[in-house]
Amino acid sequence: MVVHAEIRMVHRGGSKINFREPVITHDSRFLLCAAGESVNVYSTSTEEYVHDLQGHTDLVTGVVLNPSNHLQVYSCSADGTVRLWDFTDAILIKTFIIGYPIYSIYVSEKHGGVVFLVVPMANYKSSELFQLVAVHLPHSGDQEVEARELSAVLCDVSHHPGAASFGREGEYIAAVKGLQLEVFFFKKQKSYRFSLKSGMKKGAKNAFTCVSCHPKEDCIATGHEDGKIRMWRNFNQKKEYTYSTLHWHHGAVNTLCFTPEGTNLLSGGIESVLVHWHYTQENQKDFLPRLGAAITHIAVSPDGSLFCTSHSDNKITIIQSCVKVSAVIQGLVKGDGVWTNLIIDPRSKALVLNGKPGHLQFYSLHHDKQLYNLDIVQQEYIHEEGLDQFEVVKAAFDARGDWLATVEERRKKGAELEINLKLWAYDELTQSFVLNTTVTAPHEDRITAMFFSPSPETTMLVTTSLDGHFKAWLLADHSDANAEGFWACDFVGGYHLLKPGCCSFSADGSLLSVGFQEVVTVWSPASWELLTTLSQPPGAIRDLCFGRLSCSKYLLGASTKNQLCCWNLLTCSLEWSTPMDVSLLQTDPLSENIAAFCSQSGSSDLFVFKPSEPRPLYSQKALCTGKVQHAVFAPRDQMLESCEERTQWLNRSQLYFLTQHMDLLTFSTKTEEDRLLASSKQLMVDDSVAVTPFYLLLGKHRGQQLEKQEALTNPMAERTQLPQGSIAIKELLHTPAHVLPSASFLCAMFVRSLLISSSSAREEKEHEEGEMEREKEEEDSEGEADPRLGESATWGHPEEFGAPALTKAQERELRKVRTFDHSWLSSLLDC
């Protein structure tokens, strides 16, 4: 949109870091992982984000270390390029254009200059058929090289990156798909296929899921859907191959990995247990349980000391020597769905939404980092498919952030719904929420909406449910012995047995509106009196909100039948209505603005408006595909001062919304981006050092110190040169202090030596420039707590004036020496 060029939609909350297998560098200091359209580099020791490798224009689908240079890394992407990077400095070295979307990449030390890529079959671009091709990367000096020489190695392979693996010293490659294992020997240029029966026994699912080859021996480990691991041996012929079976997983084996020496085999699956099989004693195994979520990838550092596992909840865990989790890199958890709305925690200003199963995640929008997870369900999560588990479906904060209310539910097939309402009090001491009250079965049916009253006097919670009631919950006064208050139901309301779908408090908490299908009822929470009913049939009310500040007399309602209505509460009449299919209404808590998301023909539009004004402040068509279900206005920590009409609504708060594909988007303006860019430049740090908070604190300081020292060594070099001429001073300096005559005696001598004949006055003038320079340096060095300081101050003069006997020629010589570059010396000193 040209008109609104200054407002841009920006992705927030990072991308999936668990999409592909991460890579640990040779020195085990960095971890690289594909994250959306870039490759992120993290420090393994501090789990801190270092930088990213940007350049791809589509999803990055694989990252591998360059086997011939351990400081370089190959990445492939769906945009059809393979790029070679220097990851320490985030420099793009080369781009190889392949021309087909690439799904995964494999390299081997034996095949230098060749990468193996999985690309779609050339003639069926859209189909699900993939082939493994070898690409000779041409040597050329250009930045961009076209590499179109593809030679097919295997046809019909899986696009899954774990489904192929190089064998011992790159002699063969093993690939699995469906029920077939294919091994291709490069020497013989021959492939063998081994297939399993679809079901040897009843219920067995034999399909292959992943493969890994032993790095030192001829052995292939394959993972299967029924949780078995088969170790294939003697496969270099068609007939006499053997395999043994290991079985521990009860779900599918997601990933397999041999340690570099081949002594251990690691496997992981949905159980979220890292299983550690000993290669030589196959029945012996170690476990690392409760890693949090299903394991999707396992990677081992080249020296075998670090393992890292990616998990389905957008997390990478770094494990030290198979026993200790040393670091967790956690992105914004994007689960199967967000049932709670997007909420802003009033205290930390963090975005709150569903995180890990049964948890709420607190995500700092300003730092783009997950703060913490709050365990709501407090139950052991069973990692198993097909289980109905408790899920957090609603959450709400009160105005000050002292209370958090959560609703969790679990629906079993053919059994009744289990709902729990939990109320959490903020504990100042531990800086987190502590469970205060649990209400089992607060309603007989699903809870549709839950809000705290914004009024500061009372803490009241209102829940509406499909059982036809809405309930008000109050903190019971703790008059009796129990010191801590608990929550209890205060009022149960209903309206003609209609099912309430939404509710909303007015900004001051004096009015509560509950939408009962077509009817909006307005209640007074103080007396629980039904004040009025508003209705605009047909169409059930989908969303309700009150106007804020100067527009607080308006009540807005969005109905299912393409209507957005605005009622004036003073006259109890309809102010205006427009035909709009509004899926979501969101009010800005800091201004009068209301954002309405409309879904139209498969995409969403956004309108930002004031209820009192007929014209929208801002509108954006075709925001994203699909319906926008969740949005929130997050207050800015620093107000923008844009006076342009179109961007004014972004001054106080920022609108975040979640698309159907679980992308967190926001709007930002140009000025804001400039500001962010500037601040990020400031934060640029030396990449050669692992970025730790400690480093950030001290590194800058040390850098400055280094510079200073360098600046110091140069003049020092000059100075040490100069006094050599004066033997008296040399003597003075080299004689031990205790044998020297008293200072008063020396002083007289010293001062006498400074007395100059009138003839050198002219020369002095000539020297003035140099002197000034020197003085500046001295000033510089004054800041340092250097013991030499006193001396250097005394040196300065004797060197210049202490040798009045010098001839003019000598003088010139001296000047030459001084202007001479002595940096070589300083470099020598550095060594």
């Binding site: 949090g292 052991e380 069973i382 059994a415 009196e529």
Partner: protein, 516 residues
């Protein structure tokens, strides 16, 4: 890594009365001693002299019991008709009693024959009392009069005929020898001053007055009549202070606990209620087997004596503190061995490097099994007899957890007869408990599914299954009845609600009657 989260045992709200200091205090009595008297016990009075004997007036006798005796210490039988209101004098030497034959008799506690006989009333005398100077006697009679008698001369001093119905209660002031209060069936309470010809204060109780009681400070007066207990402020000229209606039959007797903090009322509805005298809320309640006519507390609340219409005298003695301590001591004996951890009280020195040991979290037995996915063993542990009987909520919580894991059926399967009957026993005991029903119903269904093939092979199991079936059927009937009652109540509520469009719902069904 994240540790195992133990199974959540839900805490259910305790039903019934809350435990307050009052309930603890009033529950701290031994089981009652019961003595059968010849007729209804109309009056009990404690002697203020140690060892605090008490006089029990029943039928034509007055028995005097010692504090711990079940046999009467002394008996006065010289009554020609039903005796009433046996009262000790404040020094515990004399006892006065009225009689249906209108004669008032004064006894020496150590003697047998009446010392004085006061004749003058024309009908039965139900009220007798000593004045505070110990020389006069107050009597009230069914002939509507109350009189003062001089003990040395055995002559009538004054007679007041202001009541218009039977005088059935009365009390003298303990601070002033001239003031006394009477209550009558004419619904009034009258305060008399012996120095004045007429009553000085009249209060209307609006019910026949059965009992009056003066506070030790004598600023407040409590009267009981009908179902009401009323408190009057005498210093404000007989202003009513509170009216309590906690009994559903006539309140017959009032008493104050020794420290004056609690008021006790006994009623024909067989309850004794204890009120807090600061806010007049019921803090405790005693139940008795028959309608109560009289009630008295020993000094320091050492015992509660209650007389009933069926002639049973019930005496509850307070538990002595030694016994209580003994009980506590027994509980404290529990751990039979002690663990001494070496170096536990070692204080680290300044330069010591502390290596923190990982805190080992304690898991319950069933949790340990659950952690290892040993589902059957976990259920076995949860079904251990003491846990099953004492803490059924744990067993149910483990079942729920297994159900959540989708493995309850596996855990229930494969049990032998003994195990299964144990399980069924548990179900029979708890399936109708509303707290556990949702979980146990699923478990029951699963058991029936699993074991239907083997029904008929074991008589024990079959019997239990039949019992379970009966139980469930009965419960279903109950629920149906309850729903009917609920429907009736809704009708009542709906008719009593004002006809407005809005309403607050107590139950969903009420709206059926609301729609215009």
């Amino acid at each position: 890594m994240a540790s195992f989260k133990s199974t959540k045992i839900p805490i259910y709200p305790k039903l019934g009365e809350k435990v307050t200091p009052d309930t603890l205090y009033w529950k701290n009595y031994k089981a009652p001693v019961q003595i059968k008297e010849f007729g209804a016990v109309t009056s009990i009075d404690f002697s203020s002299l140690a060892p605090h004997n008490y006089a029990v007036t029943a039928s034509t006798r007055i028995h005097i019991y010692g504090p711990f005796s079940t046999e009467p210490v002394k008996t006065f039988t010289r009554f020609k008709d039903t005796a009433y209101s046996g009262k000790f004098r404040s020094d515990g030497q004399l006892l006065v009693a009225g009689c249906e034959d209108s004669v008032v008799r004064l006894f020496d506690v150590s003697g047998k024959v009446a010392l004085r006989v006061f004749k003058g009333h024309t009908k039965g005398v139900h009220v007798t009392d000593f004045t505070s100077d110990c020389y006069h006697i107050l009597t009230g009679s069914d002939d509507y009069t109350c009189r003062l008698w001089d003990i040395p001369n055995s002559t009538e001093l004054t007679s007041y005929k202001e009541h218009t119905d039977y005088i059935r209660c009365g009390t003298t002031s303990k601070l002033n020898r001239d003031i006394f209060i009477t209550g009558s069936y004419d619904h009034t309470l009258r305060v008399f001053d012996a120095r004045v010809e007429k009553s000085v204060m009249t209060m209307d109780h609006s019910q026949p007055v059965e009992s009056v009681l003066l506070y030790p400070s004598e600023g407040l007066l409590v009267s009981a009549g009908g179902r009401y207990v009323k408190v009057w402020d005498l210093l404000k000229g007989g202003q009513p202070l509170v009216s309590l209606k906690n009994h559903h039959k006539t309140v017959t007797c009032l008493s104050l606990s020794s420290n004056g903090q609690r008021l006790l009322s006994a009623s024909l509805d067989r309850h004794v209620k204890i009120y807090n005298t600061t806010n007049y809320k019921v803090v405790h309640n005693f139940d008795y087997a028959a309608s109560i006519l009289s009630l008295a507390l020993a000094p320091d609340d050492e015992s509660i004596v209650v007389g009933m219409t069926n002639g049973v005298l019930s005496i509850k003695h307070r538990k002595s503190p030694e016994e209580k301590r003994e009980m506590v001591g027994k509980q404290r004996m529990q751990p039979v061995y002690r663990i001494f951890v070496k170096g536990r009280n070692y204080v680290p020195k300044k330069d010591d490097f502390l290596v923190s040991k990982p805190v080992k979290s304690h898991l319950a037995k069933y949790d340990k099994q659950l952690k290892k996915f040993n589902i059957s063993k976990a259920l076995d542990t949860a079904l251990e007899s003491w846990r099953r009987n004492r803490k059924p909520e744990i067993t149910v919580a483990v079942m729920k957890e297994l159900d959540r894991r989708g493995t309850l059926k596996n855990a229930l399967a494969g049990r032998d007869e003994q195990n299964l009957s144990q399980l069924l026993n548990f179900l029979i005991g708890n399936v109708v408990d509303p707290r556990f029903t949702p979980v146990l119903v699923t478990a029951t269904e699963m058991i029936l599914d699993i074991y239907q093939a083997v029904v008929g092979q074991s008589s024990v199991v079959d019997r239990q299954l039949v019992r379970l079936q009966e139980l469930v059927e009965r419960e279903v009937d109950y629920q149906q009845d309850l729903l009917e009652v609920l429907g009736m109540l809704d009708t009542l509520f709906a008719t009593s609600l004002p006809r407005k469009e809005c309403f607050s719902v107590f139950d969903g069904t009420s709206s059926d009657f609301e729609n215009p």
